[in-house]
């Protein structure tokens, strides 16, 4: 059996982290299966490309490879392309089975893309069990974490989520051991946990409130492998809130520090921190490391009504204290706002911006994102929120209090403000 795992990125030189998990996990159970990873880069192609060169390249690759199954990893930037490629493949060669996975995929894509399956839970289990199915070991109805059409009706198979059957993270192969062909990257990413205890309505992880962790032994072995075998300048931890558990944070950073000291690699560590949970102990842990640390913090707004509507737990005094500590530390950071959340308006935005300009004193610009509604987030159920594309994650065009004109004006305002802020650095 031959399987292609495909993804599309703008940039080249990105380690295929998620696809490596899929390959590594599936091959643990099906070592004889030919599983190949291929990533396509479409560069800075924003103009109207009438010849669709990348699509032609990808479809040609799939056709010449003659796979039994093609799995597409779908993100916000690639879903439109993947849907069209999937449809094209099914027209040209309906024998090729297609599965779409990733956070961007919803049931709507089953008909739109003509694909055979979509993943509805962790993809590692879905792919491994689909191979089981094609080898005749189990029935299709027994494949977890997938959805498909049967007589035009959507069939949702069981999603693995209980304690007995859920994926133990330590059973996952370390992605950097799965794909050893290339050893030099600008940036590498790893996760030390999955889940987030907070239930922010705009965030995908609100669906996975239960925290699951890779063990420290697993991390020690694999982070050491990463340092011993790869060259990189940036190491990014993908965890939603790296400072959720201070002891664990200290232990993981100690592993990194030991490896930095051993290999003498000049490395910058990127983390996402919950601003309310930054205290002197967190700062002390970060400051004592033999590497530079860059922290990303999400505030989104300072308005109580906006934050409550988004179900984002908040404590602005703690945020303020956390920023004060960061301001006097060696840790670089950025903290940003989100424009377009329900309940927001221009004046609330101004007050939020003022809070950051007054307190985030080491930040030389004001980062503001236009809220993009992600598929599968709680806000997708909110009937007062409209986005640009019906089926795909995309920018918000209307909420209960604002519309696209308001969002665009905020964008222009922020662009102007940030140009003016640059004066300070000249």
């Amino acid at each position: 059996m031959k399987i292609l795992l495909l993804a599309f990125n703008v940039q080249e030189d990105i380690f295929p982290y998620g696809l490596s998990y899929l390959k590594g996990y599936a091959q643990r159970f099906h070592p004889e299966t030919d599983i190949r990873i291929k990533e396509f880069s479409f560069g800075n192609r924003f103009g109207y490309d009438i010849n669709k060169n990348i699509e032609q390249q990808a479809i040609s690759y799939i056709l010449i490879q003659k796979p039994d199954l093609v799995c597409f990893s779908c993100y916000i930037w690639s879903i439109e392309m993947v849907v069209k490629i999937s449809r094209a493949i099914k027209i040209i060669n309906p024998e090729i089975k297609i599965i779409l996975g990733g956070v961007e995929v919803t049931e709507n894509h089953l008909q739109e893309s003509h694909c055979d399956y979509i993943t509805t839970g962790e993809g590692e289990i879905a792919l491994k069990e689909l191979i089981d199915y094609y080898k005749g070991k189990i029935k299709l109805s027994e494949v977890h974490n997938i959805s498909y059409l049967e007589k035009d009706q959507n069939v949702q198979n069981k999603i693995v989520q209980n304690e007995l059957t859920k994926l133990e993270l330590d059973t996952l192969p370390f992605p950097y051991k799965v794909l050893p062909e290339k050893k030099n990257f600008e940036a590498v990413r790893i996760e030390t946990s999955r889940g987030c205890p907070f239930g922010c309505h705009y965030c995908y992880y609100a669906k996975h409130k239960e925290m699951r962790y890779f063990s420290l032994d697993y991390l020690k072995e694999n982070i050491t492998y990463l340092f011993d075998n790869y060259t990189f300048k940036n190491l990014t931890f993908l965890d939603a809130n790296f400072n959720l558990n201070k002891e664990r944070m200290a232990a993981i950073l100690q592993i990194v520090a030991d490896n930095v000291n051993k290999t003498k690699k000049k490395t910058r560590i990127n983390l996402e921190l919950k601003p309310e949970l930054i205290d002197q102990e967190v700062i002390a842990i970060l400051q004592k490391q033999p590497f530079k640390t860059f922290a990303e913090l999400g505030l989104q707004s300072t308005d109580p009504d906006v934050l409550e509507k988004s179900s984002r737990p908040y404590n602005l005094e703690k945020v303020k204290n956390g920023l004060e500590l960061l301001n006097t530390s060696s840790v670089l950071y950025k903290i940003d706002l989100m424009a377009g959340l329900p309940g927001d308006n221009f004046y609330k935005f101004l007050n939020s911006a003022r809070f950051l300009l007054n307190n985030a004193k080491k930040q030389s610009i004001l980062p503001v994102h236009h809220y993009m509604q992600l598929n599968k987030t709680t806000f997708c159920q909110n009937k007062e929120i409209y986005r640009y594309e019906k089926n795909n994650s995309s920018m918000i065009i209307k909420t209960d209090t604002q519309d696209l004109l308001d969002f665009y004006k905020i964008k222009l305002f922020v662009a102007m403000l940030n140009e003016e802020l640059k004066i300070e650095n000249r």
Binding site: C203, Y204, F294, L350, S393, M416
Partner: protein, 260 residues
Amino acid sequence: MVYKTFVKLLLCSKKLLPQTEETIYKISPILVQNMLKSNLVDVTELNTKLNKETNRFKDNLVIKINKKEDLDKLILPDQRIKGIQLKLSLLKEVKQLRFNYYSIIVDNNVEHLIVSFDNLKKGAFVEILLPLTTYRQINDQQDILSKVNRVIIELNNQEQIKQLNEIFSDLILKKFYPFTKGVPFCQTQIEHCWELFNQQNIIITKKAKECQDCLLTEYCNYQNNNQDSSQNQQFEVKPIKEIKPELINFLKDENTATRF
């Protein structure tokens, strides 16, 4: 938090954010709290505004240049000011002084506007304040507006209010956040009033009697100038009876030291 990862990946993937964040999120040498605000002072006031301990000016001072001789007093080798405000006609005189911020008052004489801009320091923030009639003269000249970061259009009568929507539409198409100056808060969307962000420069001497019951009377710069024919500032004002609390929150902090 994971939301940010998605959006960041998207933005990076579309090159909307620089890939090396360190370049833009570096430590700022000065606190950044006083943006959009220009604390206008006359050249003669400079010494009183200098902080002797830090040898720096405070509060984003913008020095008003009223005449050519004022420029001679502006050689400030080690002292930071935000920039200068001057009339377009004086702009050709500032070749020797390189500022990061220029606030240019444009009158009706716009013939040499683009040539004058060529004298400015590359990368400087340029703001122009101009009457609506003057804006009409230059609004199809993209080469002029491409050198400008902020356009503030001054209105002075009720008839011009009818054109506000077209002005906003035009500015937005040209990628400017729309700002007006001189328009009473009751006659427009307040977020577009330049005075909302520059309360410290508002001097109110005589309010119109129609403003007495207005909730924003102490924040709006409109005053009864019917007897002042030179300003010709004539609007049909009406009291604002309802406002968003967050607007009041923003205005209340306007004159504090930590406002932007």
